[in-house]
């Protein structure tokens, strides 16, 4: 289409050009067949492992029977969605999901930004490198290991935390079975694990700060803190906004692995989230259709949130990822 607007010498020429276009691009595609061969494995893989399951989503609107298969099972419309939305625990699960991810975002987001700003101000390059390397370490440890460490440290009987508390003359605290500590443990261990790694992207953005501007500000008598506030932060603001959008996009996508690992019967009240509920209902309970409906609901809300946040960010700052 753009082609026809830019070149308008004569109607005849235009007509000719348009009629030739499909043919030409077909010939071009033919001459590049080897490229299609190269991408074929990835496309086939994607179709089998990503698009086949999307086809399977229809069981959310059916009563799936293993004997009848995905296509043969009978349609039930929105029954499973209605069932989930009217389920007495629906709001609890929803709010748990939102609360946990919201807290992770609110507490987890600012620390890497802060650390990156401070790292950038370190004069001693060796010290800076040491801090970076050590803060990266937890990123390479698995989620299961981190959760295992949380369980070990905060164990009521043998944990170091209670050992220190009782050595100082305090009462032992039931960290793991008391639901009110779940969020703090979840969010805290998350910050520990991702803090250092999260700085990389901001440090990269900070390398874009113009040295001339900083020099000029210093000559004018600006202190280091002022340079950080008035030059460094505005420079990395677009990066911060993009990261914020990306993080908001997964607001309902609370990581299954970690919640599942930290979950126990006593904290279920606060730790039952959509993904763990889907697992429990679907894979452990065998209610495939109902669980698929919950998963689909979750996914749709996620996409809506992402589009919403992206639109707001676009309006406010002209930055968008979509």
């Amino acid at each position: 289409m753009r082609h026809s607007i830019t070149t308008q010498p004569s109607a005849v020429y235009m007509k000719k050009k348009i009629s030739q276009r499909p043919l030409r691009s077909f010939n071009k595609a033919l001459s590049m067949w080897q490229l299609y061969v190269l991408i074929l494995p990835a496309v086939v893989y994607l179709i089998i492992f990503s698009y086949f399951p999307m086809y399977g989503i229809q069981i959310a609107f059916k009563n799936y029977r293993v004997s009848k298969g995905i296509w043969g099972s009978e349609w039930v419309g929105l029954d499973h969605f209605v069932r989930f939305l009217t389920f007495p625990n629906f709001w609890k699960i929803m709010l748990n999901t939102l609360r946990i991810s919201f807290k992770s975002l609110i507490w987890g987001f600012p620390f890497p930004v802060l650390l990156a700003l401070l790292l950038n101000e370190l004069n001693n390059v060796t010290f800076k490198k040491i801090v970076q390397m050590i803060t990266y370490a937890p990123h390479f440890i698995s989620t299961i290991t981190v959760c295992g460490m949380v369980l070990l440290f905060f164990n009521r009987e043998y944990g170091i935390v209670n050992a220190v508390i009782s050595a100082l003359g305090g009462e032992k605290v039931d960290w793991l079975s008391n639901a009110s500590y779940f969020d703090a443990l979840y969010v805290g261990s998350g910050i520990w694990q991702s803090l250092g790694w999260g700085t990389i992207i901001y440090l990269a953005a900070l390398s874009g700060v113009s040295p001339e501007m900083v020099e000029a500000a210093k000559i004018d008598g600006a202190s280091r803190a002022k340079v950080v506030w008035h030059i460094n932060i505005p420079t990395i603001l677009p990066t911060i906004v993009i990261m914020l959008i990306l993080n908001c996009g997964s607001l309902l996508g609370v990581g299954f692995e970690k919640v599942f690992a930290l979950q126990n019967d006593l904290n279920l009240e606060v730790s039952n989230v959509i993904s763990t509920y889907t697992y429990q209902i679907g894979l452990q309970g065998g209610q495939f259709s109902y669980a698929s409906a919950i998963g689909l609901f979750n996914n749709i809300v996620n996409v809506i949130v992402l589009i919403f946040v992206n639109t707001i960010a676009k309006k406010l700052s002209d930055i968008s990822i979509l």
Binding site: F49, G56, L118, C147, W192, N299
Partner: protein, 308 residues
């Protein structure tokens, strides 16, 4: 002259700023290191001393018993074997799918490129979900198979985009043009020009995938039930997380006799100290490797951020 002046002017408040900054960084270092240090010293300490809270800064009653116990367990070795198997073959599959895909999608003149890109990007934001994915794997007959975990997780669209960005920005298009003029086919351009020049990005992507494969746990939990196929992370979970819950329940059981409890407590102490050792046994390869590979990882994040 100028530099001197600015130094003098900014000296005092900046010195305070620097001091506070360095103190904060030391605090961050302590918070990061202490948990890792504690696990290390606890794994080498007498279990009783750990459980009494006597171990805080250095090992007490040095012993390697927990490591001997852990390394004597068959489960750990089979977990190690499975994880190494999955990591090696899995990463190979990842590269075979990702690198050509990133290369092809970097060709701006390719008809259908936009459509293909969208096909990939959609899957970043929307998917079938846990159950349809499970049924799909079930229908493919891939449950509980030696190759299940190798085949699943074959391509990460995020990594593919990083690769594409690298091909687009770091290899000049003229190179391919001159090769084409000299009669090179697209296959030849890819294998003999693009791949050698893309060595840095291949290293980055391979490491990304390998670390992911090593720490992979979700797919194993959902698709693998056979004990002999369980990777290290599942073995870890069974020991670190499930054991713990069982033990707590037992200790809370009001009907347990005194003898049962004391016997259990002794076993529990041993089990607890093995947990510290197992954390290092499972994470050591990554903790030893990462200082050497972290710069490649950082590079990957940088390339990725070019096209957020």
């Amino acid at each position: 002259m100028k530099q001197k002046k600015s130094k003098i002017r900014s000296s005092r408040s900046d010195k305070i700023f620097d001091t506070i900054n360095v103190c904060l960084m030391i605090l961050v270092l302590l918070i990061m290191l202490y948990p890792l240090w504690f696990v290390l010293i606890a794994s080498f300490s007498d279990p009783n001393a750990v459980n009494m809270g006597k171990v805080t800064l250095y090992p007490v009653g040095f012993t390697t018993a927990s490591y001997i116990n852990v390394l004597g367990s068959d489960k750990i070795w089979s977990g190690y074997y499975n994880t190494i198997f999955n990591t090696l073959f899995g990463t190979a599959l990842n590269l075979a799918l990702t690198i050509p895909c990133g290369y092809v999608l970097s060709k701006k003149e390719l008809p259908g490129r936009g459509f293909l890109s969208i096909l990939f990007v959609i899957t970043m934001y929307f998917g079938g979900g846990m159950i349809p994915a499970y049924l799909n794997v079930y229908n493919l007959g891939l449950l509980d198979n030696r190759w299940t975990l190798v085949i699943l997780g074959g391509i990460s669209v995020y990594n593919m985009i990083i690769t594409r960005t690298y091909f687009q920005n770091s290899i000049p298009g003229e190179l391919y043009e001159s090769a084409t003029i000299d009669g090179a086919s697209h296959f030849r351009s890819f294998f003999q020009i693009a791949i050698p020049l893309a060595a840095p990005i291949i290293a980055v992507i391979a490491l990304y995938y390998a670390v992911g494969r090593w720490n992979e746990y979700y797919n194993a939990l959902i698709y693998v039930n056979k004990t002999e196929l369980m990777p290290l992370q599942i073995v870890l979970r069974n020991i670190l997380i499930n054991n713990q819950n069982l033990l707590d329940q037992l200790l809370a059981d009001p009907n347990a006799t005194e003898e049962q409890i004391s016997n259990q407590a002794r076993l529990a102490y041993m089990a607890e100290s093995m947990k510290y050792a197992i954390i290092y046994v499972a994470s050591l390869p990554m903790l030893l490797l990462y200082p050497f590979i972290q710069k490649y990882f950082v590079k990957g994040v940088m390339i990725g951020s070019l096209k957020g």
